[in-house]
Amino acid sequence: MVIDDLTEIADKERAARKRYTIRCCMAAGCMSSNSKGVKEALEDAVNQAGLQQMVEVRGVGCMKLCCQGPLVQIDSATAGATFALESNEVGPLYQKVTPEDANSLVSTLKGGQTPVQRGDPRHPFFSAQLSIVLANSGFIDPERIESYITAEGYQALHDVLRELTPKDLIERIIKSGLRGRGGAGYPTGLKWATVGKAASQQKYVICNADEGDPGAFMDRSVLESDPHSVLEGMAIAAYAVGANQGFIYVRAEYPLAIARLHAAIKQAKKYGLLGSGIFESPFNFNIDLRIGAGAFVCGEETALMASVEGKRGTPRPRPPFPAESGLYNSPTLINNVETFANVAPIVRKGAEWFAGIGTEKSKGTKVFALAGKITNTGLIEVPMGTALRKIVEEMGGGAPDGGKIKAVQTGGPSGGCIPAEELDTPVDYDSLTKLGSIMGSGGMIVMDETTKMVDVARFFMEFCMDESCGKCVPCRAGTAQMHQLLNKILAGNATTRDLQKLEELCYMVKNTSLCGLGQTAPNPVLSTLRFFRKEYTDLLMPDAFGPRPNAVNGTGHAAAGRNLAPTEGVPSSGK
């Protein structure tokens, strides 16, 4: 494979393009509403109408507005379509499409009408998005590498191998300001540099695709919609740090992502874009999949590596950090799916371009999975620094049925609840941390006035309790006790002393747990206590059993009841 081959594939693909493209979402969300049936019906309808030469029905990745799926969009390659184009080549968006709608949809290509509900591609949900990671999502066919190549795929890998030394490449990533998208936000370039500097014959690159936060589906969508962008990012990273073997650790709950990754790796190997002597350079790189067995803690990097090695997935103390001693005791680079998906665009368009997007300390865009009590549920990608209010009110359309938004939860079980008063906060790493939440991997759960915050805290605590690996005491036993205390509060059986106990445990578990799971497990409680303390105290009962004045002999204050030193009313003893 040389660059000409790549161009040839893209040219051939473009030449084969038909006048109309009917894009049908084939990501997990729409597939669960039978988009596969829709796609087959559309193909049949095209055949029946005898339009095979004019129309391509293409299965694509996530089209973002998941709540209205299955989604279908019709594009025209030339002007003079039989329907009004929304913008450029992008045609009308159809929502909640059923297989029965196929004939009428195809009929619009011949001037017919369709009763199918139309979406508004100019709605802020779409227009306020800025797509880097999701640029191909919903447009290319994730099951065909040619489709990715046509979208400039693997150009960046070629350019890097031909034109950049690993050192320059790392320099470029550092300059771009890219930070890890898995949650902690560590500067990606610095991580690469550390692994690059490590002296070892054997190094590894791992893609963390063990997306486990409840309500989060960004990484799943990227893997389902554009798997090659992750493979390319990993290959570029491997070249930068000097690794020749990569692993993608993806959870078993994502069968479609796994299937598409399998197919993508196979195709990339076939074209020589993975394997030995990539682009006729001395660079070798292979990627294997490792399937997680459903443990949240395996998203923690040291547990993940143990699991890749075939061991029980439990974290170990750091240092040593993976960059020094990771998988099989070799220096290992671990990045998240979205981080890798950012790499090829940065290489293609330059560090300055990327650094020009976002805020001073948080560059680029971030993908969020909008879920919960919000009108437009789905996937959005916005520049860092976008105000939360813009995301939930303008793009998300606010709470459904005229409800009032009460809080937005970010960062899943490790994050916190941001109250409605703070909605003007820009979404970037530092602002969210200041509010006691975290950016996290990108789950964004909107809550309305009917949501009880103590319930929310208990939900996440239960999650952490169940997902604790059981290795260290504070996380294993502490989450269980915090859960029990939250139950007690919700049952109305708790007193102020129970609330104090809960808070004390929160800080203890946060400060003493071995890994990130335990260290962040108290965050949902702490943040709801910070902004919604009254919801807790309203549930408390009077402390009837507490230290109190002795009602019978009336000696008064609590201290006298606790200390037997001779005081008023207490018989002095033994004098």
Binding site: F545, G546, P547, R548, N550, A551, V552, N553, T555, A560, G561, R562, N563, L564, A565, P566, V570, P571, S572, S573, G574, K575
Partner: protein, 182 residues
């Protein structure tokens, strides 16, 4: 000379802690000069009196009687001491908690029906035989407890140490191995 008004109570436990108290032997005579035992299984007083300075509670809270009693004690006592492991940890009486909810029923079934040698039947005498609680609890789970004297039973010298601290006006705080459970 006013003596300290002291009570001892026996909730769900084996009375071993009281036995250990009696193991104070000759110290008991010295104590008698300085404390007045106003309520105890060791003396014949029917009603828990008012205005008690110090109460040593032996045993866990196992049944409704225990529950009423400990509330009454807390209301009428200045300083409450959990005395022995059953009071401090719920100990052996709480082993039935492992059987889950409704364990009271299955425990009685086992003891009075399955294990009966003659005339098996569940004891039912409302007003006389108190109902078992669903969950056996250490005393501090029910009322505020001021001090703790663990041990099964607490050895006599630990009890003596506590009594000396109390009588000298200090806080009864045991330390180190004197705090040993079991």
């Amino acid at each position: 000379m006013d003596r300290l008004r002291v009570s001892t109570v026996w909730l769900g436990g084996c009375a071993g802690c009281h036995m250990s108290f009696l193991d104070l032997d000759e110290v008991l005579i010295e104590l008698a000069a300085r404390i007045e035992l106003v309520y105890s299984p060791l003396i014949d007083v029917k009603e828990y009196p008012e205005n008690v300075d110090l109460c040593l509670v032996e045993g866990a809270v196992c049944n409704e009687d225990n529950l009423d009693m400990i509330h009454k004690i807390r209301a009428r006592t200045k300083v409450l001491v959990s005395f022995g492991d059953c009071a401090v940890t719920a100990n052996v009486p709480a082993i039935r908690n492992q059987l889950g909810l409704k364990n009271g029923e299955s425990v009685l079934q086992r003891a009075y029906v399955e294990g009966a040698q003659a005339m098996g039947g569940l004891p039912q005498e409302p007003g006389i035989v108190p109902a078992l609680l669903d969950r056996v609890m250490p005393v501090h789970e029910v009322v505020y407890v001021d001090y703790f004297v663990p041990g099964c039973p607490p050895p006599a010298d630990h009890i003596q140490a506590v009594m000396n601290q109390v009588l000298s006006g200090a806080e009864p705080r045991l330390q180190g191995a004197q705090l040993k459970f079991g």
